[in-house]
């Protein structure tokens, strides 16, 4: 395909939406720069153990597409990179990017593990099981800069002296695909986050129980490593709530149903209870998936929002005070673990808007595509709370809009 404008498209965010948009643009012959703040591509999906409604691992499909992105001659991937500025010079957009190079260079690392074995502080971990190419990284908060690792590394991949690199790029357009981040729930004390290690958010629970994670899929309590008798999943934690996030985060109902089912699969003795408001199961197979175990004997659904979640003093356990709105009964139940679901929002902050490169955001903090020069295209959670399939559809749509915009220029 021929196009009149040949400058690349900048995609901000290397999650599934950014990857999808990059592959579609490159597939049609357009150059792409894919910017990722973190150390890996794959975004939040790379942190997921399983995907609903197929129960597939997120690993294979994601790894496959990440590899396609890494290999594609038209896609330049910039990890550890943030956009510092988007400016217009002579009617062309320029992006200023800052790359903070990692201490361990992933192209030199042979993944032998000598550094991690040598580190006296245990500050060196792998970049994760779902990463291509695999490497190690140093937890800067734990590292005491003793330099043992630099001496032991056979390929001199470790260098603490690397400095920030700033580069400027002429671009045609920007596609925002910056995804979601967890919103801090501590301002709403009734959820009890932070009062007990066994009260955690859904993303923490996913990591804690992942088959490829630290516990190799075992369902255990964080406080004393024992097996919990029951787990409560609290939906709409911070979401559909005028005090914090007025919108529905769209993915959490299915996410909780998935987690409850996997708890059941791995340990059928653990009772799961999902506290929900509306169980939103819009999507292929979602409703049937939610019926599979839920509503059966081991996963109970209770319609109601807990009014208070608190650790029971001097005892092991967490009390949940709630009204079952279907029976109008007010009760207090004891749980061993609590998973909070729903506190996810766009990773773009309203406060960022003062910076002159931020896109136009709606009241809920989502990009409003088409509203100005640098927020013409967006996809994924940065535009609208959406699940994996929805995000990649939006990504394809954003990609083709960017291609058509090139033709008009």
């Amino acid at each position: 395909m021929k196009s009149e404008s040949s400058a690349p498209v900048l995609i901000i965010g290397g999650g599934v939406a950014g990857i999808g948009a990059a592959l579609d643009l490159a597939g049609c012959g357009h150059a792409v720069h894919l910017i990722e703040r973190g150390h890996i591509l794959g975004g939040q999906v790379a942190k997921l153990d399983k995907l609903y409604p197929t129960d597939h691992c997120a690993f294979c499909p994601l790894w496959t597409d990440i590899k396609k992105v890494r290999e594609h001659p038209l896609i330049a991937v910039h990890t550890f990179t943030e956009v510092k500025e988007l400016k217009r010079i002579d009617d062309r957009l320029h992006a200023v990017m800052v790359r903070k190079p990692p201490v361990i260079d992933e192209n030199l690392c042979v993944f032998c593990g000598k550094c991690a074995a040598e580190c006296p502080e245990g500050a060196i971990q792998t970049t994760g099981d779902h990463v291509y190419p695999p490497s190690y990284r140093i937890d800067q908060d734990v590292c005491n800069r003793c330099g043992m690792c630099t001496k032991t590394c056979p390929t001199a991949a470790i260098d603490f002296q690397r400095s920030e690199e700033t580069s400027e790029l002429l671009i045609d357009d920007v596609i925002w695909a910056s995804g979601f981040t967890e919103v801090d729930l501590t301002p709403l004390p009734e959820f009890g986050l932070g009062t007990n290690p066994d009260i955690m958010t859904a993303m923490e629970f996913e990591e804690w129980t992942a088959e490829a994670g630290i516990n190799r899929g075992a369902i255990i309590k964080k406080s004393n490593q024992s097996v919990p008798r029951n787990i409560a999943f609290i939906q709409c934690a911070g979401a559909r709530d005028q005090r914090m996030l007025p919108y529905c985060s769209a993915v959490c109902c299915m996410h909780a149903v998935k987690q409850a089912q996997w708890v059941q699969r791995r340990n059928p003795a653990i009772q799961c209870v999902v506290f929900y408001t509306d169980l939103r199961t819009v999507g292929r197979d979602y409703y049937e998936y939610s019926l599979r175990d839920v509503g059966g004997s081991r996963v109970r659904l209770i319609r109601g929002r807990p009014s208070l979640i608190y650790p029971i003093p001097q005892k092991n356990g967490i009390a949940i005070k709630f009204e079952n709105t279907m029976t109008q009964k007010r009760e207090i139940w004891k749980f061993d673990m609590v998973v909070l679901n729903g506190n996810i929002g766009s990773s773009l902050k309203k406060t960022d808007q003062e910076k002159h490169f931020s896109p136009a955001l709606s009241g809920d903090g989502f990009v409003m595509p088409g509203s100005d020069d640098i927020s013409r295209f967006a996809c994924g959670f940065s535009m609208e709370p959406s699940d994996v399939a929805e995000s990649v559809i939006q990504a394809s749509s954003a990609a083709v809009k960017a291609i058509l915009a090139k033709r008009i220029k």
Partner: protein
């Protein structure tokens, strides 16, 4: 047979501190199929790969065994690097000497060496017998067929027309617009459906690249990605054309709730679509209305949520309140399905506008009161735990979208899969607009019930996927791979030994094997563009006629023998 090169990596001592690589080297010396071997300090760094590639080229070897780390560590980096240097991906085999031998058997070096040697000579055997699938390249026909001219099809047609591709847009009715012709406004923008579709229809009529076929029926589709042949009868008569890609946007139909809530018996119990029709005629000034959700959906027969019924009811309920602020409007629901930011705000707007919501349970659904006309609805409000009688002049039943009947026929012609409800299946989870047949894409409610806005978005998405294919001049059978790099091969049939039993035809999930008359007997032929190299046909072939050349039976046989310690010659 061309020779094999073997590289053994020390990985800076990680491997050779357990595995005695010198003894392996001695054994390699005696292997006649190995024309070159060496032990290197590391092989995965950029310079190592370049050097290895030049040494392989000099040695004249065409097949390579790398003894290093696992695929998931740096192995893939090595293979990718060698492919970039011009080596053939399927001629490179990786042996995991680090994780699978040196690390895990660090306490038993003697057996670790034996395991390493077994693994290496297995791969040598596999490569020795490896043959290559012959690749086929065809030129891509840069035209596309879009089935259905509803919101999804129109949006796909507009996009592809703008990108400069010739579009054949088929519609079973006489006019473009699909479901949007039947409704008055669309959610969540509350635009007029007619206005929304007008721009698209205008462009379809104006763009000379888009050919519209009203009253179209597909007689047959044959061929494969890049080169489908379609026979169509339409208002303009019978026609035959070639296209490179197919986009299915044939939509879905609305289910009619016969037998439920006394629909068809009581005069003013109507469906959502009938409300839309009345709104199309003009305002619907009424004093009360009750909307009932999940009519015929989320039950045993149709265990799914049809996505668009809740927002549609919100839209029409608010419209009734807007027309008559005194109207009493209730929505009886089982869950309000408005995920996300836009739809949740839409729901809040309905609450603010005074629409009232009552939740009921599937097991205790509302009852209609009245003889000829509905006069009221009895509903058990589970949230308040009371039975309520609602007086009303109108009951609106929200029914789901169900798959079109001709989905089965279309799926049969193209070799597609339908899901358990009858909608077209997608590739989970990252390619929701693609199907398992290359060059066939799905969008809109033919894929899964969606709103018109989403259908249009999916139309654009399917268009960009098709454009990536149509923009290529040629496509080769081996390039059709979902995983990065080339497909490693495809099945091939020995025409002389094939008995035409048809076993392979029965088990092929991709419609790639077909029986073809050849002289007096019929033999199996494999379409290389449809074949995904799954190997089903190979396993059911009674006499080894069908083979995957890259996984030849001699190669697999030799690997098995060597795995069990047999010192067999190749």
């Amino acid at each position: 047979m061309s020779g094999i090169a073997v590289f053994l990596c020390r990985c800076f001592g990680e491997i050779n501190r357990v595995i005695d690589l010198d003894s392996l080297q001695k054994k390699l010396e005696q292997d006649h199929s190995v024309v070159f071997f060496d032990v290197v300090e590391s092989i995965c760094l950029a310079d190592d790969i370049k050097e290895a590639a030049s040494r392989i080229r000099k040695s004249g070897a065409e097949k390579i065994v790398i003894g290093g780390c696992s695929h998931l560590a740096r192995g893939t980096v090595v293979i990718d690097g060698l492919v970039r240097e011009g080596m053939k991906r399927s001629a490179i085999r990786l042996v995991d000497l680090r994780e699978a031998c040196a690390w895990i058997h660090a306490d038993d070096p003697a057996n670790a060496v034996q395991k390493a040697w077994d693994l290496i000579r297995m791969e040598i055997a596999a490569l020795y017998h490896r043959r290559e699938s012959d690749n086929v390249t065809i030129s891509v026909c840069p035209e596309v067929m879009i089935v259905g001219a509803g919101p999804a099809g129109l949006s796909a047609a507009r996009t592809l027309g703008r990108l400069g591709f010739k579009v054949h847009l088929l519609e079973r009715g006489s006019n473009p617009g699909g479901m949007l012709n039947l409704i008055s406004h669309v959610y969540p923008s509350d635009e007029k459906a007619q206005e929304k579709i007008k721009l698209y229809v205008h462009e379809v009529e104006k763009n000379p690249l888009i050919h519209f076929y009203p009253k179209a029926k597909i007689k047959s589709i044959t061929g494969f990605t890049g080169d489908f042949k379609v026979q169509v009868s339409s208002a303009a008569g019978e026609e035959m054309f070639r296209v490179g890609a197919v986009i299915l946007a044939s939509g879905a139909r609305v289910w009619l709730p016969h037998g439920l809530y006394r629909y068809g018996k009581l005069k003013n119990v109507i469906t959502q679509m009938e409300v839309e029709r009345q709104f199309l005629k003009g305002p619907l000034t009424i004093t009360s209305a009750v909307f009932i959700q999940c009519v015929g959906a989320r039950n045993n027969e149709r265990p799914y949520c049809a996505t668009m019924c809740c927002p549609s009811s919100l839209k029409n309920a608010v419209r009734i309140r807007d027309e008559n602020p005194d109207a009493r409007v209730f929505i009886l629901h089982r869950d309000i399905m408005t995920p996300g930011s836009t739809l949740e705000a839409y729901y809040r707007n309905a609450l603010a506008k005074g629409v009232q919501f009552i939740r009921f349970e599937e097991t205790n659904s509302p009852e209609m009161l009245g003889d000829e006309r509905v006069e009221g609805v009895d509903v058990y409000d589970v949230i308040n735990g009371i039975k309520i009688k609602l007086d009303t002049d109108l009951v609106v039943l929200s029914t789901p979208l169900v798959p079109n009947d001709d989905n089965v026929k279309l799926a049969g012609m193209l070799g597609l899969q339908l899901d358990r409800y009858g909608f077209f299946s997608e590739i989970y989870p990252l390619h929701p607009l693609e199907t398992r047949v290359d060059g066939v894409f799905i969008c809109g409610s033919a894929r899964w019930p969606v709103s018109s806005d989403h259908a249009m978005m999916q139309g654009e998405g399917a268009a960009v996927k098709a454009a990536a294919l149509l923009g290529r001049e040629t496509v080769s059978a081996l390039s059709l791979s979902r995983i990065p790099g080339e497909k490693f091969g495809h099945a091939s049939v020995n025409a002389e030994t094939c008995t035409g039993c048809g076993n392979c035809v029965a088990v092929c999930p991709f419609d790639a094997c077909r029986l073809q008359k050849m002289g007096r007997k019929s033999i199996s032929r494999v379409n290389k563009f449809r074949c995904k190299a799954c190997g089903n046909c190979v396993s059911v072939c009674p006499n080894g006629t069908v083979q995957l050349p890259e996984h030849d039976y001699r190669a697999v046989g030799a690997m098995i023998k060597r795995a069990f310690g047999e010192e067999s010659a190749l």
